[in-house]
């Protein structure tokens, strides 16, 4: 099984294999008008792929809560009703998965992380987002503040479905989408960086699609 680089395609190296399946194109499409919005190595998809690392949690809304905890003066918790009573924004963003699919102009509604952190006193530099089912992902605090991140509850005008992370998921569209933790239940503020579920197993600690930071050492 030999792999060799063949050609550069929008900035990334496309690895060619020895064997090509005659007549196979695959599902992706790459309209020219969008190409400057596409990070290196990505392609467009029509659907919204679901990639899961575990069973889909089914937490009843009556038991759901979201919390800010860790290195903070006053931890905060919201019930679902309290969370939904917070000001929500509608945002349209492109999203990019490390497995190379992208979707442009996806429409979400959610509460800005800035809103959730209002009044929170902290010297922490990092957050660990944690979810039902045990999934975690880590980010520098500055990557989820300043209008860069939301806890999203609505996708394309409908309540976020469980398979896509509902009732609420973290949304950090400027980084690879594994950082947009599905079924998020809170943010833990930390002084030190702690790699999350995928970051501890080969995926890049930061995950910037424009610098193609997919794996360790990229």
């Amino acid at each position: 099984m030999d792999a060799f680089p063949t050609e550069r395609d929008t900035g990334g190296i496309v690895m060619g294999r020895g064997f090509i399946s005659r007549g196979f194109r695959g599902r992706r499409r790459q309209p020219e008008a969008a190409s400057e919005r596409m990070p290196p190595g990505q392609y467009l998809v029509d659907g919204f792929p679901v990639l899961s690392a575990g069973p889909t949690p089914r937490t009843p809304l009556s038991e759901w809560s979201f919390s800010i905890q860790g290195e903070v003066d006053g931890p905060k918790t919201w019930s679902w009703e309290e969370f939904r009573a917070l000001p929500s924004e509608t945002i349209t963003r492109d999203i990019h998965c490390v497995t190379k699919w992208s979707k442009l102009d996806t429409i979400w509604e959610g509460v800005s992380v800035d809103t959730l952190l209002e009044g929170v006193e902290t010297a922490a530099g990092y957050v660990l987002a944690f979810s039902d089912g045990g999934y975690t992902t880590n980010l520098p605090l500055e990557e989820v503040t300043g209008g860069k991140a939301w806890v999203a509850h609505t996708y394309e005008g409908e309540p976020l479905s469980p398979e896509h992370g509902g009732p609420a998921r973290l949304l950090v569209p400027h980084l690879y989408f594994w950082k947009s933790a599905k079924w998020v239940r809170g943010l833990k503020l930390m002084n030190g960086d702690e790699p999350g579920f995928w970051e501890s197993l080969g995926y890049h600690n930061h995950g910037d699609p424009w610098r193609e930071q997919r794996y360790w050492g990229d």
Partner: protein
Amino acid sequence: MTEVAAAPRRLAWQIGEVVETSPETPRTKSLFLEVPSWRGHTAGQHVDVRLTAEDGYQAQRSYSIASAPENGRVELLVERLDDGEVSPYLTDELQTGDGIELRGPIGGWFAWDAAEGGPLLLVAGGSGIAPLTAMVRHRKAAGSDIPVRLLNSSRSYEEIIFREELERLAAGDETLEVIHTLTRSRPDGWKGYGRRIDEEMLREVAYPPEERPLAFVCGPTPLVETVATALVGLGHDPARVKTERFGPTGG
């Protein structure tokens, strides 16, 4: 060159040649492959098929091997999913003479060799019949008379995969029973089951738990979970119920 003493090595991709294709039902097709360095398989195992486009884009799916190990050719049963990425290529585009990249055989857990005994309870939904057909074919090729009951769920009579062959095998062998259930439509005069498999049907069809059958259940996830739960509920040993979920739609 044959391998000596099965020296362990990691699974590698191989190129097989499509030597024949054969439509089975309106939505399914059998692909017959010659794979030069094929090491043989155990009935129930599967292969991974990998498609590569000219720019290097790849898609990969698993397909059960429908052929018996005694048969030198590798037969894959492909169900064409309308919104699929791989199956429409395999059923619509791939032709005799084309190469296909695959690796296998894979998965020793969901596998049966006649030497393991029985009785065998096989429960299939749709294209889940593929690995179970490999078991039935292997049993015949091995000359085994281990009792087998195959309960096969299909949407309609026309969509029963391998129907003629299974009927032929069962007609000539009193130790092989094939029981069909048709879930969406039935031909006039149909006297068989006409609903999704449930615990009541399994109570009527399955061997009693005291006979300690080996059960293999394969098909769409909802069917597999219903059947596995029901079999355990009827008293079958969970360790003797093996499942192969195909996911929501089968494949």
